[in-house]
Symmetry: C2
Subunit: 520 residues, 2 copies
């Protein structure tokens, strides 16, 4: 599998398929769109970094690891939000880094940061390049240049402690690479965001990621027992114990810091034994509210499965839960996916199944569940196919407490529909469930206007404001980047912002670490 992605598309080009005719018909019927093929010829901006700085970089990392060719720079340009893709599709690659630098060790990273401070270069840590919030678009005005710090050489499984069930991983490991190394030890991490095939361990940590099996294995921030952060002021190492009362938990200040406080060079994470059994089943609920209430019951009564996901009526009808059968026959109601992994799967399946039946669910069997599991990482390819035929499509997500779920759902749906017009399709699912609340993940599709980028940014702003006005979070698991900064400022308030700024100013007084990202 390739792990390099073109800036205008998701993933491995071989896996992107044109929309099947049936689906195209549906899309055209629903949206009335036209084809707007991407611009294929684009030109890269020249390398802006001075030769003496390049020479210094080469002296530090070796010629092979300081790359200025168009291809490497192109593949490190921006992330994978629809605005990112639209900009690339229109031929705009102005955010390309000047250089791709590939440190091999923690000490390399420390030296690279020192070099960046000396020359006032903006440095952008790069793992999988899957940011959908502008996390890879550092500010370049006032800087000597922008260096993409590609962690691709830092892919070791450094320690395995089977007694404590922890391992130490380097940040450049992609999801499948980490799982493969762990599987050889009979272990697993269990972190499966939709970006799993491309995203990296360092990125999971830096963005406080959450995966499709987080109900069972926990969010990434709950997995991290310790970490190492290289900063301009030296190295922070935390992780003396699973938990403690030794002041504020500094791990939780680094997790979610998105490269703005330093570069994470290793994490000690909790691991699990490889599951002996896995079963995924599908259920139908008469309404989104009935399904959400059932999820809440499971979470509040110690019955949490490993995977728990509920599509609303629209998503169920359009069947986007499985990419391969968009436009297929709908079962009506709302589709729930319930997965159990590990030991005693049958017993847990029986317990949870009995509860779901009592709560109004109808079992649809394991075939539909298996189909979901098979297609779970493929939705982003569908976005490319829809963009190809002129549909504006994007996702956004939030989270709130249970009692606020319905209000938030309606507020975001209304904001998007009002902004994008009556032909807009808004689909929603709940994919992360807690005792006290849940996430809401929206997929939006609308006919592209003449200026689709501006069209989307206006709609996104309205939806973001609706989230914060509803008292919810601006992001459950996509992070802040540059795109969410104004609403982060509202969410955490003036005092929250000044705390982030104070830490940033202390650790990175010349503002070379991913400048413009995260900190409002």
């Amino acid at each position: 599998m390739t792990t390099e992605m073109h800036p205008s598309r998701w993933g491995n080009p071989a896996e992107t398929t044109a929309l099947p005719e049936s689906t195209r018909g549906l899309v055209e019927l629903a949206l009335g769109v036209r084809e707007t093929p991407a611009v294929e010829e684009v030109s890269m901006p020249p390398v802006g970094l001075a030769d003496d700085v390049l020479a210094e970089l080469r002296a530090l990392l070796g010629d092979d690891h300081v790359l200025t060719d168009d291809e490497h720079r192109r593949l490190r340009t921006r992330g994978k939000s629809t605005p990112d893709l639209l900009r690339a599709r229109s031929g705009d690659l102005t955010d390309a880094p000047d250089v791709v630098a590939r440190p091999g060790t923690h000490d390399d990273v420390v030296a690279l940061i020192a070099l960046a401070v000396r020359h006032h270069i903006a440095i952008v840590p790069f793992g999988g390049g899957t940011s959908v919030t502008g996390g890879l678009v550092a500010r370049r005005e006032g800087y000597a240049g922008v260096v993409s710090v590609d962690l691709i050489r830092m892919k070791a499984l450094r320690e395995v402690d089977k007694e404590s069930m922890t391992v130490v991983l380097e940040p450049g490991l992609r999801g499948p690479e980490a799982e493969e190394l762990l599987a050889a030890e009979g272990l697993m991490l269990g972190h499966f965001p939709q970006s799993f095939e491309f995203a990296s361990i360092g990125g999971f940590a830096a963005t406080r990621s959450s995966g499709q099996s987080s109900a069972g294995y926990g969010r990434f921030d709950a997995m991290v027992m310790g970490l190492t952060l290289a900063t301009p002021q030296g190295t922070l190492e935390v992780g003396s114990s699973p938990a403690n009362a030794a002041g504020p938990d500094l791990r939780q200040l680094v997790l979610g810091s998105e490269g703005a406080f330093g570069i994470i060079t290793s994490v000690r994470v909790r691991v699990k034994k490889l599951p002996v059994e896995k079963v995924y089943e599908a259920w139908n609920f008469p309404s989104f509210t009935a399904g959400a209430d059932a999820m809440r019951h499971l979470a509040q009564n110690g019955l949490m499965p490993t995977v728990l996901r509920l599509s609303d009526e629209n998503e169920t009808a359009l069947n986007l839960a499985s990419h391969s059968d968009v436009g297929g026959e709908s079962t009506g109601g709302c589709l729930m996916i319930v997965g159990h992994e590990g030991a005693s799967v049958a017993a847990r399946q029986a317990l949870v199944g009995a509860a779901l039946e009592e709560l109004g669910g109808t079992p649809l069997g394991e075939d539909r569940g298996a189909a979901w599991a098979e297609g779970r990482f493929h939705a982003p390819y569908l976005r490319d196919s829809l963009l190809d035929v002129g549909v504006l499509v994007e996702t956004l997500e939030t989270a709130t407490f249970w009692s606020n779920r319905d209000r938030l759902y309606k507020a975001v749906t209304s904001a998007l529909t009002e902004a994008l017009g009556e032909k807009t399709l808004v689909l929603c699912h709940i994919s992360h469930v807690y005792e006290t609340g849940c996430s809401l993940y929206f997929t939006v599709a609308a006919p592209q206007a003449d200026a689709p980028l501006e069209q989307w940014l206006a709609a996104k702003a309205k939806a973001s404001q609706a989230m914060v006005d509803a008292g919810a979070t601006i992001t459950h698991h996509h992070a802040v980047g540059t795109d969410h900064k104004p609403w982060l400022a509202q969410e955490i308030g003036e005092v929250g912002v000044r705390i982030l700024r104070a830490v940033k100013a202390d650790l990175d007084p010349t503002d070379v670490l991913n400048p413009g990202v995260l900190i409002p």
Copy 2:
């Protein structure tokens, strides 16, 4: 029940009993100590705060809530560590606050902080007064005075959200008061540290507390969904959602901040339904290692009970697990307490019991378990009785990953024995268990030397250094206060310390918030 504690003793004087003759005999035999009754006559230092400032305080809070009498000041002097008790017993109350001020609302707290900044007064938040790490002993040099901010008037249950299973609590609520308010709603918090009867909600949050049922209900920091912090720069409100990716988790920066970043004026916490059943049982394991391995197995295989606690051979022999029968007959081996609360108790009891038998445990029945539950909050009274007869006794605690448990155990035990001499008794238990590690809680008893305070501080320093040298934490649940600062600095390193200092300098530039506490 009284909630006011004399500075030289724990809890309600009516509950402190003289040691039974059998126990005294044991103590004398083991340690060869002499009686050293406490000094009863002590004099309070004069109130050092200027009259105009007192008048301003009275104008702000009302005469009834600005208290300068000896009794109120005495009862707000220091916390409950053995050094605190020894200082009080020797007649030293020099750390008494000048004034006890009792704000009634968040706005009162904000105004009180502003007043403190204006007059450069050190302010010490006071909840239950149960700190055992010097968390209530602010630096007074260079300040116009020291004000104890007693949160005793802020005891409301402010919101109940039964759908989300969250409530909003004010910080002055003591443990039993909070549980009583919740029980009226059919709810519970489930946070039962040994200090439960006296400690407060604000204190639980500010010190990142962990309770005897944290295996089942979670540490306090895992319960907090949102909070409000009054600071000199304004109010921080966080808690948009159960979890999110909106930058670093600022909740975890406030939890454990021990009054140094601000005063917590409310917390939104996750609650549970009142348990329908509770059962506690005792088990015997042939060794501490065998018992610890069994605990690890439960934690790593999803079999965690609500309460899980294991005494080492020494603690089991001295039977300190139950205060009422010190010196009673020992069963040999190591005593484990296993408690199940909530629903399906019998099924969970059967599952866990089968696992424990397979791992070498012998069931001792529910009577011993019930005895533990009955006496669970009484150990601190025993300390007073032992101090009364001239035994130096204190507790300290740490946590580490499973693979480091035995090394840490031996290192701390050796350090204490070397420092205090061959007659020292070192007892240990594990009371907090995680998938990746556990806490170690030591009780130390030795004959008092002529200068018991200095004797203990020297031993404590050696034990603390042994913890950090073993790569463990300086404190699993007692917090940092003033006593643990040097070792916190080692644990989090220079970069960690500068992060704490940067936040402190930004939020509290004139250093009036519990100065000298927490921040190295």
